[in-house]
Amino acid sequence: MADVRFDQATRVYPGNDAPAVDALDLTIADGEFMVLVGPSGSGKTTALRMLAGLEEVDAGSIFVGERDITDVAPKNRDIAMVFQNYALYPYLTVAANIGFPLKIAGMKKRERERKVQEVAELLDITDQLHKKPGQLSGGQRQRVAMGRAIVREPSVFLMDEPLSNLDAKLRVQMRADIAALQSRLGVTTVYVTHDQSEAMTLGHRVAVLKDAKLQQCDTPRELYARPANTFVAGFIGSPSMNLCTVPVANGCVSFGGMPVSVPAGVAGDSVVLGLRPEALELAAEGLDAEVEVVEELGADAYVFCVAEVNGAPTKLVARSHARQAPHRGSRVKLRPLADEAHLFRPDTGERIDS
C-alpha cells in the first residue's frame, strides 16, 4: 500500500537526442487506479518500466511512499507487473508460475501452495493449476499472469497493455474483471494502454501522454468535459471531437450561422473550435453539409459529413437519433450547441477557458 510519485522523471534512450519520457510529474494516490494512455511512442510504457526499474531514470526521481526508489534494484521495489505478452514461464505449470515469486522469496512449500490456491480461487483458475501455459487460452494466461502478480501482495501493481492480445469480447469482459479485482484488493495500480475507451472505463484518473510529455491528468469525466489542449480533445472520446480553426470577429466566432462567444483578451484573429459529435445537431438552420457515412448504433447514429468551414472542406461528425438519421449523400444542416463548445488557441493548442 503506497502512493507513487514521479518527480521530473526523465528517460533518454542511448543514441537518441529526444527523451522517451520528458520530465514527468505525476502523483498516484494510495489505492488509486491510474491509467497512462497515449499513442505509440508517447512514452507511456517507458514511464511504467521506469517505475518497475526495468528502465533507467536519467534525471529526476521516482518515489513509492516516502521511499526514493530511483536507484533501487527492481526486485527490491515491492512492485509486481503484468506484461503485455504475459511473460509466463512455459516450462512451469500454472501453479508453479503463480508460486514463483513466493518460491524465490523462500516461502515454505505448504504456505506457498495455500496462497496459490487462494489466488487461483480468486481468479477462477483452480482447475488449470496443473497445466502448462501452452495449454491455456489467451484469457486464461492473462489470469495466470495476474495471479502471479497478486500472490506477492505488492505495494504497487503495474500492467502493460495486458488486454491487447485478447479478442474484443474477452477484452471487455477482462476489463470489468480487472476493475472489480483492483477495487477489491485496493492496491495502487498503474495501467498502460493505447485504447482511450479502456482508459476511460478503468481509470480513477487518466494521464494522457504524447511525445514523451504529460498532456493532462484528470478523472475520465473531467478529461472529457475539459480537455487541456487539442490533442487531449481529439484523443479522448469516440468518435473524436470535431476541431476546426475559425476566424474571430467582434469577440465571437461564427459556425454555421450560430455565434459562439470568445472570452475577451484572446489574442489573434482565429481560434480552434471544438465540438463533440453530441454538440452538433441536425437542424433546420445551420452549416450546410453533405452526408458521407452514417454509423448506426441502435439508439443513436453518428453522421459523418463534409462541410465547408472557413473556406476549406472539413470532415465533421454529428450525433443524431437513429430515427432521424439522414441517408448517405443527402444534404443536412449542422447546428452547434454553443454551451458545449470548446475553444483552443490555434498556435499552442491550449484550452481557452471562458
Binding site: 526499474g53 526495468l54 506484461f83 505478452n85 511473460a87 516450462y91
Partner: protein, 302 residues
C-alpha cells in the same frame, strides 16, 4: 514415384543397408581380406567378452573420456555463450575467436596440441617453467594423456558454443524481466529462466557429445602416434604403442581399427562395430527417456 526416389533408394541400399547387413554377417566369420570369410558362429563375440584383455581397458578409457569430457564441453560451451551474451564490446571478435578452432581439421589440431604440449620444448611447459611450475608430461604421461585430449576437445568446442549462443539469445527478454521483478537474482534467473529455456539444446549437446565420445578416434590416434615419436613411420606402429602411453589412450574405436586394419581381422572388427552401434543406440535411448524430466519444449503438448 519410385523412379523419382530411386537415387536415394540406391544410395541407401549401397551405402547403408548393404554395409550393415555385411557387417552383421562378417561378425560371425573369420575374414582377413585375402581369403573368403569363414563362418565361425559366435566365436568373435565370445572372445570379445571372454578372452580379449584389451577390450575392458578400451571401454574404461572410452567411458572416462565421455564422463569427464562431455560435461566439461557442455559447461565450457555454455559458459562462453553466456559470457558472449553479457559482453558489451567486441562480441563479434570474441565470437569469432572462440568459434575459429572448430574450423581446424582434427588431425591438424591434434598435431598442434602435441607440439604445444611437448614436455621438453613445447611453449606451454616453457611458459609454466618461467612461472616456476614444473609442467606435466602431457601426451607422454599415462595420467595426463586423456586430460590433454579433453583440453583439445574444449579448445574445439566452437560448434556447440554457437548453438548455445543462439539458444541463450533466443530466451525472451521479458522472462528475465519478470523474474527480476519477482525477486530473482542473477543465479536464480540462470536456474529458473535460462537453463529450462535452453534445455533442448543442452540435451542435443549431451547426446551428440556422448555419441562422439563413443566414436572418439582421430585426435587420440594422431596424438598418441605423434607423441610416441612414430610420426615418420606411422603404419609401422607395433603393438607396443597401442594407446600410447601405456594404453592410456586406447579407446574402443582405436582397438576396433587395430583389429580391422592392422591385424586384418575384419570379422572381429565387425563384431566390435556392431556392439558399439548397439551401445550407442541404448545410451541415446536412455538419455532421451531420462530427459523427459528436465527438457522442456516451449509450449508443446507432449
Amino acid at each position: 514415384m519410385l523412379a523419382l526416389m530411386s537415387p536415394w533408394i540406391v544410395g541407401f541400399l549401397v551405402f547403408i543397408a548393404y554395409p550393415l547387413v555385411m557387417s552383421v554377417y562378417l561378425s560371425f566369420t573369420h575374414y582377413d581380406l585375402l581369403n573368403a570369410p569363414r563362418w565361425i558362429g559366435t566365436a568373435n563375440y565370445r572372445y570379445m567378452f571372454g578372452a580379449d584383455d584389451q577390450i575392458w581397458p578400451a571401454i574404461r578409457n572410452t567411458l572416462w573420456i565421455i564422463v569427464v569430457g562431455v560435461p566439461l564441453q557442455v559447461l565450457f560451451a555454455f559458459g562462453i555463450s553466456v559470457m558472449l551474451t553479457r559482453a558489451k564490446h567486441g562480441v563479434g571478435f570474441f565470437r569469432t575467436v572462440f568459434y575459429l578452432p572448430a574450423l581446424a581439421p582434427p588431425v591438424a589440431a591434434a598435431l598442434g596440441f602435441v607440439y604445444l604440449l611437448n614436455p621438453a620444448t613445447g611453449p606451454v611447459n616453457t611458459l609454466l617453467g618461467h612461472l616456476g611450475i614444473n609442467g606435466p608430461l602431457w601426451f607422454n604421461d599415462p595420467a595426463w594423456a586423456k586430460p590433454s585430449l579433453v583440453l583439445l576437445s574444449l579448445w574445439g568446442v566452437g560448434n556447440t558454443m554457437v548453438i548455445f549462443l543462439a539458444a541463450v539469445l533466443d530466451v525472451p527478454r521479458h522472462l528475465y524481466e519478470s523474474a527480476e521483478l519477482d525477486g530473482a537474482g542473477p543465479l536464480q534467473r540462470m536456474r529458473w529462466v535460462t537453463l529450462p529455456s535452453i534445455s533442448p539444446v543442452i540435451l542435443f549437446a549431451v547426446v551428440l557429445g556422448v555419441i562422439q565420445g563413443l566414436q572418439y578416434f582421430t585426435q587420440a590416434y594422431v596424438a598418441a602416434t605423434v607423441a610416441a615419436g612414430q610420426a615418420s613411420q606411422a603404419g609401422g606402429t607395433s603393438n607396443l604403442e597401442l594407446g600410447y602411453p601405456q594404453g592410456s589412450t586406447l579407446f574402443y574405436p582405436i582397438l576396433l581399427y587395430y583389429h580391422g586394419f592392422k591385424y586384418f581381422d575384419m570379422g572381429y572388427a565387425a563384431a566390435m562395430a556392431l556392439v558399439l552401434l548397439g551401445v550407442s543406440f541404448a545410451v541415446t535411448l536412455v538419455i532421451l527417456v531420462n530427459s523427459r524430466r528436465w527438457v522442456h519444449y516451449g509450449g508443446a503438448v507432449r
